[in-house]
Amino acid sequence: MPDAPGLELIAQDLNETATSSVLGTYHEHGQACLIVDPERILDLLRWLRDTPGQEYRFLSSLHGVDYLPAEPRFGVVYELLSMPRVERLRVRAALADPGEDPSEPGRPRSRRRGGDRLPEIDSCVSLFPTAEFHEREVYDFFGIVFRGHPDLRRILMPEDYVGWPQRRDFPVGGEPVIFTHNEREVPRWYE
């Protein structure tokens, strides 16, 4: 991990020389994280990968997070590893939910006003080929669309599945089980 000053140096370099896309940093439990603007994520990742002295050439993981009810709601997290520096860096792109009603934060828009629109971010398959399946997984579970992905479809859930099951507002599913303590609340099969 870069230490806290190292992280600030990276953030400063990024904002001054390459892209002005770093919104914030945090360094906790020995882990370094850059919070960035999703619109310029490709430029940023390319800079981290190709700049001499940085060389974060290995994307060890890419995953999605749903922070509901926080704003912005979604996060796409890139876990980068630099072999020459022997350091790991986390990059988190904060994505707003376009399906949300701006006048009433936290509530989804009606379908007619675009409530079923999905959040979008650029695909980084061109930089890190390994991201192809990772991005499909994030799409499968969170409904985050990766622009420019060669083959964006569900990877783990069945093809005809409806919904984004890892979002926090997705119902858990399953069936209630009747025990002695709740037998009066649960609907009974024999009635």
Partner: protein, 245 residues
């Protein structure tokens, strides 16, 4: 209770000797038969006991129950326990089911060993449809019986939602002994002599949780519903007893 037990014993496919002394007499009779000096009423007796009472159907069932070919099919962590039933320690070969077949077309028993994901369900159904008749299914563990701890969007809440299941083995995961015990129950089922549940053995039909008379602040309507459920349960048991007895 005593009468019931007598009845159950009479149900077993080959009538069992009732005491050690009787068993000894039978053994001696069988030895005499092999020597060739069994005649008259004794020979008659031997034939009645060992041959004529066995109908073809019973003989077939006996053969089926004692030569079962399970499919090599693991779903999750229960499969680890399932694997060990063929090992010398638990040794399902004692009951004639040691030969795991790698193709459903050669198998006649499927052990659902683990949680069934909704994506796996059509695959399992297809495997089941490919198996030869007659075929049996054991749902092993809580997950394949009811969804278990996986009450979520990805797991089928009980495999009997999409295929018939003969035996449910409880546990998370069940020990290999439990699976072997479940298998023995399946054998008894195939023999046409299903093990009665503990409620029947202990004369406790009608005491199910759902058929229990309501207590406390229950309305008379609810009490009526419970009474009706209890009657249903007792009637169902009487029906079962009529079928087998």
């Amino acid at each position: 209770m005593e009468i019931k037990r007598e009845k159950l014993r009479a149900l077993s496919p080959l009538e069992e000797p009732r005491s050690p002394a009787e068993l000894r007499v039978r053994q001696l009779r069988a030895r005499d038969l092999l020597r060739g000096d069994l005649e008259g009423p004794a020979l008659e007796r031997h034939v009645t006991e060992s041959v004529l009472t066995t109908t073809l159907d019973r003989a077939t069932r006996w053969g089926r129950a004692n030569s079962i070919f399970p499919a090599t099919f693991g779903l999750a962590c229960c499969a680890i326990e399932m694997m060990s039933i063929v090992s010398p320690r638990y040794d399902i070969a004692r009951f004639g089911a040691e030969n795991m077949r790698a193709s459903p077309r050669q198998a006649d028993m499927l052990i659902l060993s683990g949680r069934v994901a909704i994506k796996m369900a059509p695959v399992i159904r297809r495997l089941y449809d490919q198996m030869l008749e007659p075929k049996w299914v054991i749902a092993m563990g809580a997950c394949s019986s009811s969804g278990g701890m996986f009450a979520n969007y990805a797991v089928v809440q009980g495999a009997d939602k999409f295929m018939p299941v003969d035996i449910h083995v409880p546990g998370c995961p069940p020990r290999p002994e439990a699976l072997v015990y479940g298998f023995n129950k399946l054998q008894r089922m195939i023999l046409g002599n299903p093990e009665p549940g503990w409620r029947r053995r202990y004369n406790a039909i009608g005491t199910e949780e759902w058929a229990r008379p309501a207590t406390g602040s229950a309305s008379s309507e609810e009490a009526e519903a419970y009474a009706a459920a209890r009657e249903l349960s007792v009637a169902h048991d009487a029906e079962l007893a009529g079928e087998t007895g």
